[in-house]
């Protein structure tokens, strides 16, 4: 019997849901996507790890989630909101969130509007698979995801 391959799961670490919602909605046709930046969504024990993680680097302390509710996003003590994404990635790499589906070697795409080259460089150093600057087109992100998941 042919076992249908399970749909790939992508965690999109993003605080500004509105700006990315259109693209994510389209991507959801192909992938299972969890879009969030606040703890209640993240800190859920998962049986299977995520296949891909897309991270925005700058995470505001508060934002509006998909349901239209204001949520408090992840923040790390002593770390600027501009670098929250980087620090989140660091923690993934040190297996801090393995139980929540974030494996140590999960492929990561950085999708950010960050200008600071240093932050970019720091992110690169954390073994990211791709860095895509906002704004990006649907085609661009689809191509990148396809290539990474095909590996």
């Amino acid at each position: 019997m042919t076992v249908q391959r399970k749909r790939r799961t992508i965690f999109y670490f993003e605080d500004d849901v509105d700006c990315i919602n259109e693209v994510v909605n389209i991507l959801k046709e192909q992938y299972d996507i969890i879009l969030a930046a606040h703890w209640p969504v993240i800190k859920i024990k998962r049986e299977f790890p995520f296949d891909l993680v897309i991270i925005d680097l700058m995470i505001h302390r508060f934002s509006i989630d998909e349901s239209g509710q204001e949520v408090e996003n992840i923040s790390f003590e002593g770390i600027s909101w501009k670098r929250t994404g980087v620090d989140f990635l660091k923690r993934i790499r040190i297996e801090e969130y393995v139980e929540f589906g974030f494996s140590k070697d999960v492929p990561v795409i950085i999708a950010s509007a960050v200008v600071d080259y240093n932050v970019k460089q720091e992110a690169h150093n954390l073994k990211i698979s791709h860095y895509i600057e906002k704004p990006f087109t649907l085609g661009e992100i689809q191509e990148v995801i396809r290539k990474i998941l095909a590996k």
Partner: protein, 1197 residues
């Protein structure tokens, strides 16, 4: 006997004739005659031929051979067969009478024969006798001449010899000489033979005796046959003649130089007759001989006496201190040769035309004082005028009086003799004698004698005066020598010397008081600086045109007066009763040194002290002034040298040849701690720290220096201080030599190295502190103000501990024009002060104008503040600038050092009081350096922090805006993607969605490029490279800044090398901006009144544009801070958001890099400009001429 009787006595002889006649051969046939010596008689012996008779004839005396008839001959005719018969033969009138006393047998028969024979014999005999007598006379004269020559010195001997000769030859009984007095008034018997007078002094009067006057004045002889019958004789003379039985006398005058000086007499006691002519003639001859002898003797005596006079006067002139005594002595000596009954010796001063009696003796006139006017017409004056000896007799005097040449002074004299006293071609007086009785009293010979004596007297008087002058000079020299010796040996005290000089001068010039007037060149007045016996004058001042001083200055010579207050130039200051009572006469002589009058020596006399000043006094005082001037000059020089020596900041020690210390100046005392009086004469070797070894080393060094001809300089050595410590010194020295080149010692200069060593140590310590401060790690955590404050506090703490300061505060202003500075860092302040610290306000320092502005006009006010000075004035101003609470706490601060950043005073480092005493002057540079290090550190970090803060704000804002914009664009993009997904491809909606998506992405890129400020490398695509002339480009840039440079008092000079620049592919807009920044930077950091030079170099690959200025330094830190970090802040700088300086270089650097080139600079120290340390700074921009296409992402046209 009567006059007809024979005059010759017959004398019988002995009977020895037969024997003596043996062998007798007559020259004639019948007569043999033999002359036999027998007493003084002549004998003729013969025999009568063919007869038994022989005869002896004795001719006893033949007074006059010519008068043979009076001859009486005694002939002795002997019969040899019988006894002797005596025949007396008398010859008279050519007839012979033989009167035999006893008839001889047979005699008669032979009588005729005998008589004929005798006659014949006598004829012959008489001829012989005559001849013999003549010969005897000649011999007598000859003997007399010889005798005279032999005994020429003793006149008495000569006279006696003459008398004896006359007696012997003339066969008279007595002969004598009478010598007359010089005035011929009388004579005295000077010699006789044989002596009948003995020692009896017999004076023969002349005056009133006809016979004598005839003899003396008419020079005629006297022949008296019978003295007893002579009536002309006076009784005394007659008695003398009677006593000695003198019957006849012949007197002839002895004449010398036309003058009878004596008489010569022949006396006969037995006979009474006149003297024959030949006798008189012979006597005259004898007298002439004697006169000659007397003349010679007198001449010799005169010479002898003159010689003695010369010697005696010479001796007297040397030994006697009184000219009057010498004059008296001259008179006494002259008396030996001339009659000095009336004698005058007058001195004459040619310069003053002044006569003075040195000696006078007169029989008629009593001379006290003869007025000078009368003396000028006297005989003496005539002699002085003629400068020749004069003998004046009445007729001469009358003649000269008629001519007005002279006037008679005193009684009329018969004869007057005067001889000038001439010494060294100058007539210094006259010597004269005169007679009131006889014209003949003096003759030419006397004038000669007088002249000779006058010559000797002149020499004696001149010698006396010279000697007196020499004595006086010697006294002066001795006095000055003593004074100089005192100065040289004891003290160079000029006032002591002046006292000595004035005292000596007063004594020397026999004045009553003396003063020394010195010239005060500063006030241009003459001031009495020393007085002797007239102290009221001390300190009085006279103008150069006042009083006698004006005369002295005008003439440059000494002046005198004997009536000061009646002179036109008398100073009014002195014309008060007090001085009138004390000043009568005055002498002033200038003391001139090298053509300048350095003082005036003044001698004064008091009224009534009879001290009359004359030109002689002036001259003598001038002579005195010369050595005095030298002494004063020497004293001043010595004083000056001593002052120099003693005040010399270097230690000076002089040694003699034995190494003993002979000079030890004040600095030496201070360095070594010994007193001069204690160390003089000690062996220097004892004062070297290493003793003898060091002594030998120093001696060797000096010897080598001497032999090499090189000065011994900067030799390190060590001397022993009084406390035994070793004092390091730097020694320089030289061998001392005298004027003959003989080594007399050495002199050394010592520099105390203790202070230098201390300074060196201090310097090293300061360097260490500075190095430590500079090397203090710049904490990487200094990212905010507190971190910087902590860092600065540590620096201040370190400084306070190292320099032992009580506290330190750093005031600084962030904004470049702030006049109020805030405390940024501090150390050592109490808690209560820290909690309420004051501020520092530049306006309150009163260093800036009171404009009330809260901003400083950088370019104007920076000039006022200039540089910090470590003085009290600056300290007060800085203290005044500290305002607010607790400001009083800072009243005791040591100093405040401001530091400029660019053109602005941006900070002030306050140094609290030092715990130990310190010399700020010595620490000035060190404190400045500390301030510079701390302030630079503070200001650079302050600026960095400020900039960082601003940057962060900007970045945050930009990041937020960018982020937000991108997020929105992402939303737009997402929406367009959704539309594309929903609509069919190829439809207009799909196309629109595609277009919308593309525009959104493009917008995002524009936002990123415009707002985010990416690095220069990322902007290359904004450059447009085009082929441009670099030369034109640089020219345009320079022209743009020319006016600005002028406004700032700089000048831009474009080098010709710019014209050679080639074309290149550049973005002309950006490159112009880059070059413009270089020029602007140069204008900003150069000093006023300097020029900015722009030149270039290029090769095949690159071109370099160089901008050179003279001004502030740029160091490596600037390279690090201004050029490299600038890349990141380019945009901010371009937006002119960041205050401060140096951003132009960042811009230029960015643009150069975009052109594949670079910017760099080079700075070297330059000579100070306007008193500020300056550097020559070259900033260059290098770009490649051919840029590779592959390296450029920009567009090319």
């Amino acid at each position: 006997m009567g006059s007809s009787e024979p005059q010759i006595l017959c004398i019988f002889q002995d009977n020895t004739l037969p024997e003596r006649l043996n062998g007798f051969q007559s020259q004639e046939d019948n007569l043999a005659i033999e002359y036999l010596p027998w007493d003084d008689r002549v004998e003729v012996k013969g025999k009568i031929k063919d007869s038994p008779f022989r005869f002896d004839v004795a001719l006893l005396q033949v007074p006059d051979i010519k008068k043979i008839e009076t001859l009486e001959i005694v002939a002795v005719i002997k019969d040899y067969y019988r006894d002797i018969e005596i025949v007396y033969i008398s010859v008279s009138d050519d007839r012979f009478f033989v009167k035999p006393q006893q008839p001889l047998p047979g005699y008669r028969a032979y009588q005729p024969l005998v008589c004929a024979e005798i006659f014949h014999l006598l004829s012959f005999f008489c001829r012989q006798v005559q001849s013999r007598r003549e010969r005897q006379m000649l011999e007598g004269l000859h003997k007399l001449t010889l005798g005279i020559n032999e005994k020429s010195v003793d006149l008495t001997d000569i006279l006696k010899l003459t008398c004896r000769t006359a007696v012997e030859i003339m066969k008279v009984d007595h002969s004598g000489f009478v010598i007359y007095e010089k005035d011929l008034s009388s004579g005295r018997v000077a010699a006789e033979f044989p002596s009948i007078l003995g020692d009896e002094a017999v004076e023969i009067p002349v005056d009133g005796i006809e016979r004598e006057e005839k003899l003396v004045f008419k020079k005629e002889h006297i022949d008296i046959q019978n003295l007893m019958e002579d009536t002309t004789l006076n009784e005394k003379l007659k008695a003398i003649y009677q006593r000695w039985c003198i019957r006849s006398i012949l007197i002839v005058p002895v004449v010398l130089n036309q003058k009878v000086i004596a008489s010569f007499s022949l006396d006969m006691m037995q006979k009474c007759r006149h003297f024959y002519e030949d006798e008189i003639e012979f006597c005259r001859k004898l007298a002439a001989h004697v006169a000659l002898a007397i003349g010679n003797a007198r001449h010799l005596k005169e010479i002898s006496v003159l010689y003695e006079i010369g010697l005696a006067l010479e001796e007297q002139s040397v030994q006697t201190g009184d000219i009057k005594k010498i004059a008296g002595s001259i008179r006494d000596k002259a008396a030996q040769l001339v009659d000095v009954k009336n004698f005058f010796l007058i001195s004459y001063d040619e310069k003053r035309d002044y006569y003075e009696f040195l000696f006078h003796q007169d029989e008629m006139d009593v001379i006290s004082t003869i007025p000078q006017e009368i003396m000028r017409n006297s005989f003496s004056a005539y002699v002085i005028r003629q400068k020749k000896p004069q003998i004046l007799r009445p007729k001469d005097i009358d003649y000269l009086m008629e001519k007005g040449e002279l006037k008679r002074v005193g009684h009329e004299s018969k004869v007057w003799l005067g001889a000038p006293l001439i010494a060294r071609d100058r007539v210094i007086g006259v010597m004269s004698v005169q007679s009131y009785t006889h014209e003949e009293a003096y003759d030419e010979h006397d004038l000669t004698i007088l002249s000779t004596i006058a010559g000797q007297a002149a020499i004696a008087i001149d010698n006396y005066r010279l000697l007196q002058d020499l004595r006086q000079q010697l006294l002066q020299i001795n006095a000055l020598y003593d004074a100089t010796k005192v100065i040289m040996q004891e003290t160079p005290n000029i006032s002591g010397l002046l006292e000595k000089i004035v005292r000596e001068a007063v004594e020397f010039s026999r004045a009553q008081a003396g003063q020394f007037i010195s010239y005060d060149s500063a006030r241009k007045v003459f001031r009495v600086v020393f007085t002797y016996n007239l102290d009221e004058l001390k300190g009085m001042e006279f103008a150069p045109d006042e009083g006698m001083i004006s005369q002295v200055i005008k003439t440059g010579k000494g002046q005198f007066t004997n009536d000061y207050f009646n002179e036109s130039y008398a100073s009014g200051k002195l014309d008060i009763p007090e001085f009138r009572a004390k000043i009568q006469g005055m002498v002033q002589v200038p003391l001139q040194w090298e053509g300048n009058i350095i003082g005036i020596l003044v001698m004064t006399s008091r009224p009534g002290d009879n001290r009359v000043f004359s030109q002689v006094d002036v001259e003598q005082l001038e002579q005195f002034a010369r050595p005095a001037t030298i002494a004063i000059s020497i004293s001043r020089t010595i004083s000056f040298q001593q002052a120099l020596l003693q005040s010399n900041p270097e230690a000076i020690i002089a040694l003699n040849n034995k190494g003993k210390i002979t000079e030890f100046n004040h600095t030496s005392e201070q360095i070594m701690g010994y007193r001069k009086r204690d160390i003089l004469g000690k062996f220097m070797g004892d004062y070297y720290y290493d003793g003898l070894e060091e002594t030998r080393r120093m001696k060797k060094i000096l010897d080598e220096g001497e032999s090499n001809g090189r000065p011994v300089k900067d030799i390190h050595a060590g001397v022993k201080g009084k406390n035994g410590d070793r004092i390091p010194i730097l020694f320089s020295g030289a061998i001392l030599k005298d004027e003959f080149g003989q080594r007399i010692g050495s002199i050394g200069l010592m520099r105390d190295l203790r202070e230098i060593t201390q300074i060196e140590q201090e310097f090293h310590k300061q360097q260490a502190i500075l190095a430590e401060l500079e090397s203090m790690p710049q904490d990487s955590s200094i990212k905010e103000l507190q971190g910087l404050k902590d860092h600065l506090r540590r620096m201040l703490e370190k400084t306070c501990q190292s320099c032992r300061l009580k506290y330190m505060v750093l005031f600084a202003g962030i904004a470049e024009k702030d006049t109020v500075l805030q405390p940024v860092a501090w150390w050592g302040l109490p808690e209560d002060i820290v909690s309420n610290q004051p501020l520092f306000n530049w306006r309150k320092t009163e260093l800036l104008p009171r404009t009330g502005d809260t901003e400083m006009d950088i370019r104007q006010e920076a000039k006022i503040i200039t540089e910090w000075l470590p003085n009290e004035e600056w300290r007060k101003r800085i203290t005044g600038g500290i305002r607010g609470q607790n400001k009083d706490y800072f009243q005791g601060l040591a100093c405040g050092v401001p530091v400029r950043l660019a053109d602005n005073y941006r900070s002030l480092l306050v140094f609290g009081p030092f715990i130990e005493q310190n010399d700020l002057m010595k620490m000035e540079k060190f404190l400045k350096n500390i301030a510079l290090v701390i302030n630079m550190r503070a200001m650079s970090w302050l600026q960095a922090i400020y900039l960082q803060a601003r940057r962060k704000e900007t970045e945050n804002a930009l990041e937020l805006v960018t982020h937000r914009a991108r997020m929105y664009l992402q939303q737009i993009t997402g929406k367009f993607s959704l539309i594309k997904q929903k609509v069919d491809r190829g439809t207009p909606a799909a196309d629109k969605a595609q277009e919308g998506e593309r525009l959104a992405l493009h917008t995002a890129r524009v936002i990123k490029h415009v707002l985010c400020g990416q690095s220069a490398e990322m902007e290359r695509e904004d450059y447009t490279f085009q082929c441009h002339s670099l030369a034109a480009l640089v020219h345009n840039c320079a022209a743009t800044f020319e006016e600005r440079a002028r406004e700032n008092k700089r000048e831009i000079r474009l080098d010709d090398s710019i014209d050679n620049l080639p074309q290149a592919e550049v973005d002309d807009r950006f490159l112009s901006v880059a070059i413009g920044y270089l020029i602007e930077n140069a204008i900003k950091y150069s000093f006023e009144e300097t020029f900015i030079k722009i030149f270039s170099t290029y090769d095949l690959k690159t071109a370099t544009i160089i901008v050179q200025d003279i001004g502030e330094d740029m160091d490596d830190r600037a390279r690090e801070n201004l050029i490299k970090p600038g890349k990141r802040w380019t945009m901010s700088a371009r937006a002119r958001q960041i205050p401060g300086s140096g951003f132009g270089l960042w811009e230029s650097s960015v643009i150069a890099v975009a052109h594949e080139g670079h910017v760099d600079f080079f700075s070297i120290p330059y000579k100070p400009v306007q008193g500020r340390p300056a550097h020559q700074v070259k900033v260059w921009l290098t770009i490649p001429l051919k840029q590779e296409k592959g390296n450029l992402s920009g567009k090319r046209r």
